[in-house]
Amino acid sequence: MILEMNHIRKHFDDLDVLKDISFGVDSGEVVSIIGPSGSGKSTLLRCATFLEKIDGGEILYMGEKAAYTDESGNAVYVHHQQLRHFRSYCGLVFQQFNLFPHYTVLRNLTDAPIHVQHREREEAEATAMELLGKMGIKDKALAYPYQLSGGQQQRVAIARALAMRPEILFFDEPTSALDPELTGEVLKVIRQLAEEKMTMVVVTHEMPFAKAVSNRVIFMAGGVIVEQGDPLKVFDDPQEERTKQFLQVFER
């Protein structure tokens, strides 16, 4: 198991956003998370990537505990030095790309490898160029983010995350901020990564994509996992009423 999240609880003030969520991700697995807006999908990814602190439960990466619940019921995180190590296992691709506007595309991909991971500049640049080639935007290496289309920016963001060599890559609605004609190029690179057995968790509203690419799909609603399993089964023969209702909206 690359990632295990057990009995995760998270609330904002008196709003319970995650209510006892448990799931795991195996190496090479692609997991899609679907569900209505406000069901806690982003919060789950933010907890997994340590942007948000859990209130209860445990998070394990590669079998090692990053956070757990002590006897008094409080969530405890490992020391922040160790947490940095856990952070290095995971990458996150945001809905809004969040590229660094003052850096060229190339520098967006090399700055963290050089200054966070202390890798050699030449090696980091070679890795970055290779990733840009894979994303089909090698010619944009010296452009600034504002000079790119949304689809190109998101591909840069994916490459930036991959440049850190994460064990697992999370995507939070990677195509939701894109014009419909640009979603295809982003989904294509994610599909390509799936073929290369990159471990990924993708929150998405692109149902045909989720069905075709993922090994498992999780349907979340109201802070709980309502149903999960083989995508063909969940999409074509959902067991729960809540899942049926949700999927009906997408069938039209």
Binding site: L51, R84, R87, N98, P101, H115, Y144
Partner: protein
């Protein structure tokens, strides 16, 4: 007094004006950043002190502040203020401008989307790296127009040094005008301020242009 002696007498004042201007910037630009960061300190007491400092500085005239810095030590503690004129002047200017720059920096820092912090955090940058490498460069670009305004105001505010009878160009203009019953010193001072601001505006515009390589 001929025009050329008038000019050469006033040249020394122009030098002193430039001195006040440059020392104020050297002190207040970095101090303003420290103040802006302390304003968001974890410690409530620090935040309260910084906010009080900013609101007093912004709520009272700079001229009054200069008088307080200069005469304060004497009236409050009975200390001798010989040789204190110039330090008090620079202190007053630096603390005043630092408060204004701090507010500009704060606005700039808060205008950076939270996604920039989050992207940096996930990539493993430390807090210090995130600020220095990701946030600050973007802040500097965004605040340049406000900083330019403030710097141009400073050029003109240096004339308030006359309050402490410091012989900068404006004080000299007044003295020479009175003793020579001539209007000329004011014209010279006016031209000097105008040219100084022109140079400042030109320099700031060049900096803004240099930062124009991204949006």
């Amino acid at each position: 007094m001929t025009l050329s002696t008038m000019l050469s007498t006033m040249a020394a004042g122009m030098g002193r004006t430039c001195g006040v201007f440059i020392l104020t910037l050297i002190g207040s630009l970095p101090l303003g950043m420290i103040v802006a960061l302390l304003r968001k300190s974890r410690f409530a007491l620090v935040r309260i002190i910084i906010r009080a400092y900013i609101s007093v500085i912004r709520g009272t005239p700079l001229m009054l502040q200069l008088l307080v810095w200069y005469f304060g030590p004497y009236y409050l503690f009975g200390w001798s203020i010989r040789g204190w004129r110039f330090p008090a002047l620079i202190l007053g200017f630096i603390l005043n401008y630092a408060a204004y720059f701090a507010e500009i920096y704060r606005g700039g820092i808060e205008s950076i989307p939270v996604g920039q912090h989050e992207a940096a955090e996930v990539l493993g940058y430390t807090k210090a790296q995130t600020f220095m490498r990701i946030i600050l460069p973007q802040v500097i670009k965004r605040i340049m127009p406000s900083v330019t305004n403030e710097v141009i105001t400073l050029v003109k505010d240096t004339s308030l040094a006359f309050t402490l009878a410091y012989q900068e160009v404006f004080s000299l203009a007044k003295q020479i005008s009175a003793s020579q019953t001539s209007f000329m010193p004011f014209v010279i001072a006016g031209v000097f301020y105008f040219v100084a601001n022109y140079i400042v505006a030109f320099a700031m515009e060049r900096i803004e242009k240099a930062l124009d390589y991204y949006k």
